[in-house]
Symmetry: C2
Subunit: 193 residues, 2 copies
Amino acid sequence: MLDSDAFGLLFHNARTFNNWQDRDVDTGLLKQAWDLTVLGPTSANCEPMRITFVKSDAAKKRLKPFLSEGNVDKTMNAPVTAIVAQDMEFYEKLPDLFPHTDARSWFAGKDDAIKATAFRNSSLQAGYFILALRGLGLDCGPMSGFDAAGLDGEFFAGTPLKTNLLINIGYGDRNKLPPRSPRLSFDQGAEII
Amino acid sequence: MLDSDAFGLLFHNARTFNNWQDRDVDTGLLKQAWDLTVLGPTSANCEPMRITFVKSDAAKKRLKPFLSEGNVDKTMNAPVTAIVAQDMEFYEKLPDLFPHTDARSWFAGKDDAIKATAFRNSSLQAGYFILALRGLGLDCGPMSGFDAAGLDGEFFAGTPLKTNLLINIGYGDRNKLPPRSPRLSFDQGAEII
């Protein structure tokens, strides 16, 4: 079982940040976060999540026009923004990722299964990724307020990738945090039968 | 930063289990896992995930007919199975969960926004939940192979809940684990621009 420091880092003391310390994010940490994330479970090990890390000024300029107004400043000020996408042809990799059976045939040509599996599993992976980043000492600011069609056209034209969500990454500025919002209790959201 | 034992518990040594030790799961741990999970970030703190923990023999019997054939034995043998659902009326709780603005109006009556937000965020929360369970020393077996319409009819008729995925929970039997499947490398799934 994790100790209270570890639960604190991942959950109790972790927050969504809109303001960032002036501190660069080491590329090696982003690679470590990827390598941890892909270990998490996905349906038939399909791993549909893809990430484009936007770090250079030139790439940030390409991202800016597609952000919702309230997301512009915090994103432009973040050291890195991850475009978390889903590969709508993820099943082409199943012969390598799930080699003991023909899992490709469960999806190829089946649009509803592809869409649900890509969205569910890339979102699950985004959950693992956020906690992996926190585990590595980084802070996150996930966002779903953006022009998805425009962003896909700018970054993923001619590819099977579709953006799922964005995550700002850096070292958060705790001086500017608002109080934490309330959470649903077990009795409000769960039952044991 | 987490130490290598913690990363091992959450990622490196954690596996998806199909076989379970004959060891009960304490209800208090399930409640702790809930309380950790809801701390994770969701869009406008919407927390659309709901969980029905299937633990009694009577409830397991109700679940069985809706499982894909390959999921029956491992689920019937698991100490607990979590039905992870999404509340399609999650926005009715936003006046409490995100009280500083009228976030309910971003969703009410907007079917596409409701569906995408419920699915994305309940899946993100499932990712947090799986790692919270592992952090508490439990093992998981997530599944998306089931008859969703049938399961919803049996467990959620007359409610706004829709099943997203199932997660078997218990203490896994490591003697029966197959080798781990390959994973996508950073260069296969990510880029820094």
